[in-house]
């Protein structure tokens, strides 16, 4: 290649680089999402404690912990209290392999603001579009396997408590979760009834299970429903994948660019 051609090539490449750079810097879409002051402080804490070494945001970061982009909606309820409670537990007491950071209330609120802002900004992980939440899906499968007429009163109470305390946020019904919480439907076999009762009464702070301050009758109800779910483990596992109301989870539906909620 002769010298004039080389000069042209280099000039063209430099021009392309600066044009690309200008487009990125001036992109209005990326600039639209703006954090509040609290959320900005929360971002500062995220950086200060180097959370990205274990956790991901939008799929970027370490692999030890889960992606936290949409953690706020994962623990969502009408008041936001469930998410705040979960964040408080994890940040003050640690969870499994996550150290306890002992953050103050104000710092936890700032982080919560940051996570809420990120949740609104986009979706961190691709999932096939589903028309129902994981809780609704679980309810639907269990209702198919165990019709409501077959529940005892204690079991029904325990079932309602499971939804109230959102057990499946951490304990998935038929698989180990990324938080390493044991599978819900085999819990009684794996841990034994005595251990389950103990954990329900005291929590298991080292492993990330909060102490919910449950009364004796609540513990009894939860134990009964766990025994019942265990007895239907096979049916519940078979139920996943055939639940009506969901869209087809086909690989052909993989998103081209942005992920759907």
């Amino acid at each position: 290649m002769n010298v004039p051609q080389r000069k042209t090539l280099l000039i063209a490449l430099v021009a392309i680089f600066f044009t690309q750079t200008w487009f990125v810097y001036s992109d209005p879409i990326g600039a639209q999402t703006r954090l509040s002051d609290d959320a900005t402080q929360g971002r500062g804490l995220w950086l200060k404690y180097n959370c990205q070494s274990c956790h991901q945001l939008f799929g970027f970061g370490g692999f030890l912990g889960p992606d936290l982009t949409n953690v706020a909606s994962r623990f969502a309820d009408s008041t936001g209290a469930r998410f705040d409670a979960r964040l408080a537990t994890v940040l003050t007491e640690g969870s499994n392999r996550m150290p306890a950071f002992h953050l103050e209330q104000e710092q936890r609120d700032q982080l919560a603001s940051y996570f809420r802002a990120l949740d609104e900004a986009g979706v961190g992980q691709p999932r096939a579009v589903s028309s129902i939440t994981p809780q609704e899906r679980f309810n639907s499968i269990v209702q198919d396997v165990i019709p409501s007429t077959e529940w005892t009163e204690t079991e029904s109470y325990g079932w309602a408590l499971m939804e109230t305390y959102s057990c499946i946020s951490c304990h998935l019904p038929n698989e180990s979760s990324s938080l390493k919480a044991p599978r819900l439907t085999t819990l009684m076999d794996v841990s034994g009834e005595d251990r389950v009762r103990q954990v329900l009464a005291e929590g298991s702070l080292q492993k990330g299970m909060p102490n919910f301050g449950l009364s004796e009758d609540k513990i009894e109800a939860l134990v009964q429903v766990l025994i019942r779910l265990q007895s239907c483990d096979e049916g519940i596992r078979a139920g996943y994948g055939t639940v009506p109301g969901t869209t087809t989870r086909s690989l052909k539906d993989l998103p081209w660019f942005e992920y759907s909620r």
Partner: protein, 459 residues
Amino acid sequence: MDRGERMVLVLIASALGCVVLSLAFGALGALAYLPAASETLLKGGVSLAQLRPLHTTFASAWLFLAAAAGAYAYLNTEFGGPTAADTRRFRIQMILWGLAGLGAIFTLPFGIVSGREYLALHPVLSLMIWVGWALFCWTFISKVSKGFFARPVYVYMWSVGMLFFLWTFAEGHAYLLPWMKQRPLADLQVQWKSCGTLVASFNQMVYAGLLYIGVQKSGDEHLGHSRSAFALFGIGLLNSFTNYVHHTYHLPQAEFLKWVSFVVSMLEVIILVIVIKEVVQALRAKSLKRAKEFDASTSLFSLAKSWNMCLLSLALLISIPPLNSLIHGTHVVMAHGMGSELAIDSYILLGSIAFMLGALFPEPKVGEALIHAPRVQSSIRLLNMFLVCLVLVLTAEGLTIGITRYKGLPSPEWLVAFPPLFLAFGVGVAFFFLRLIVCWLPLLLAPAEFRTPGSSHSE
């Protein structure tokens, strides 16, 4: 040993020191994936939050320092020994980089971090690295600038790589700007633009060294001036500018940036075809004629080429947006990144170091006993074997997680075997990498003992 040769040796020694640290921190970090070991580490006040930034910082340092050694070796050969000003600049740059390295060791474990992925150092330490690099650029560019456009393509690649670093390393610190602090999506866009082009910066320098050595070994100067060489340089650089967007397909941003990235990424199929052709030709030539003696550079370059074929194929696949969404945020990305840095960049750099050591210590006995020793050969073979296993395990794990995550299926039971496999293969890679370095250690610790009189460039 003249000043120029000592500079190259200092850079090689620094680079190898950094990779040793990176491998050690990486192996410790892999322990964090085992629950029992993780608990022990946490009790000792050690977590992945400290180990990961240490591992990535020193991995980056290894790549850049080793690539810089190649550039200095070229300067020595082409322009003779360094001037007094060159030596002063070198001294200052090494002091700055050395202080930054020490700073990393004494800040990162104590939580004094930026919190940024791959740029974990405190900004003050980053500034020291940047200033040192600017001095390095000054030395190189001031020498090659005369008659620059007539020089071979590897000079373009070194120059572009070096200057690119100055821009992109600074760009990676845009998160410090008040405007950026409040805009998380723009922050991620620019962060990944900077990360992607930082990789491009060392890739340009690594390949420049490879091409330079190729010209030296073959004696064919035309290799550095051919139209195809410049065309590949152009495609490679173009990809570097735009490719990074395949990491951010899913972020809300201007869609045309994503399409440009996708289309330009697919241009790499041209490079893949060329690499496949070269690998096939090399395999045919190898089957016809067995090399009489083992040569570490040739062996490592040859392996790097084969890996390039495989990892480039993987990269092309995961640049296709739907497949990208499937594996985004999974260990497939780790397989791609770690595989490329180890199996392509590090192999080429190790091969370059073997070549440079051969030039610095031309005595045949030194080559046989140390540089191209049987132990080096076995280390390379076993390192490669463990690396294949590591990349395969990461890819399988990532693909499995991606598919089950997307379809909402339960994770298969076998995934619990992943952390021990990751640790075992990772430690295997680290061990044989270190074993190879140990073979060359005597040359770095006591170079005078292995030099024969009259072997200096200046004489």
